[in-house]
Symmetry: C2
Subunit: 207 residues, 2 copies
DNA sequence: ACCTGAACACCGTTCAAGT
DNA sequence: ACCTGAACACCGTTCAAGT
């Protein structure tokens, strides 16, 4: 622990302001949404002056970009972990992935919206855009493996992954926006609706 | 035409400021997004002072709510018109609806995002939320009619409509966010990808 | 009844100055 | 090298005053 950290309450140098801003910002973004995301508030939460963030991020948008990137990384990690712990059948893996995607959305509704706000895809060298591709690869690989095992119908796994992602993302958005109640209400209802949707799509892939 | 309208350039009373604000606001929202939506700019575009909008809308949020409601109404109108002009087969109707949904998204990306920003479903008496239900009813009715004709598998048409909507909305979001390229690139590519997706889901509904 | 202009609080961003 | 405080432009909202 550095000298800076030990006298932290009054330390002139924060020590790890960049991460503190990311954490405080993620909290504001996830819970309150972009509309109420203001840089001065985030700086206040991190215990620094309103000008301090500019030492670490070009502007407000750059901070949000970085938070969005973290969001994709967290999502990728959660999906991968669920696949790891799930059974061996491909349909089961896909259901587990879809449910986890929807749960992530329920826990971070505003963050998910911001992840698909167009900012990540402004240009393809964007770190958030690259992070989003890692998420895509996760279910594409599940589909590809499933095809090799004969559990999923044929077709370009990349395209099938796109269809699956569309369904999962639409489910997540409509559920957090209260548009598919009462079919997906409560933890049980959501799980049932997601399973039903994914099963239907997988059945269609076999045809 | 009223006296107010005839001397319009210098008229103290605008005449139809409410609609002028809605139109100017819809343009800003659709093209620039919420982040760049500011009330003073909208007022400027409508040719009035920055305080004038408060005579017609409680605040900025109320104006956006009203624009979002218009968005759902326009979408409902477009979907209904496409169904009207399409062939008789239910799968064909659903493909036409999905494609129109995606085209609407491409033409009004920011507006669509705002339509699913959580604001419409804050409470269920919200006019925007009610307008969104009219959109829902359109494909639910197509599905229901298709079931009676034996063209679509059995199941609660409301739930099936929810699944279909999820797929359509996910396709729209991922396409405007450049996440399913190169599978849905260009007008042709988008049409092919949407048809493929919807066909797959419909096939699954038969099982 | 509808609109304007001044006023206030607050945010994003910059920059010279502090440690 | 990192952070602060003052400063500036600009936005949301209110309100007394104008037509």
């Amino acid at each position: 622990m550095s000298a800076d950290r030990q006298q932290n309450r009054k330390a002139y140098h924060h020590g790890d302001l960049k991460n503190a801003l990311l954490q405080a910002g993620k909290e504001v973004l996830s819970l309150e949404g972009v509309n109420r995301f203001d840089l001065r508030k985030v700086a206040r939460k991190a215990g620094v002056s309103h000008a301090a963030p500019y030492r670490h991020f070009a502007d407000k948008e750059a901070l949000i970009d970085a938070i969005v990137k973290l969001g994709f990384e967290e999502l990728a990690g959660r999906l991968a972990a669920k696949i790891e712990k799930s059974g061996h059948s491909t349909p089961e893996k896909l259901k587990v992935v879809a449910l986890e995607y929807v749960l992530f959305a329920g826990q971070n509704p505003w963050l998910l919206r911001e992840m698909f706000s167009g900012r990540s895809s402004r240009n393809r060298n964007n770190e958030a855009y690259i992070a989003s591709k890692a998420v895509y690869r996760i279910y594409r690989d599940v589909i590809h493996t499933g095809q090799e095992a004969g559990e999923i119908g044929s077709g370009d796994p990349n395209a099938l992954a796109g269809v699956l992602w569309s369904l999962m993302h639409g489910l997540a958005m409509l559920i957090i926006d209260d548009q598919v109640t009462p079919y997906a209400e409560g933890k049980r209802g959501v799980e049932r609706f997601v399973n039903y949707s994914v099963s239907t799509l997988i059945d269609g892939m076999k045809g």
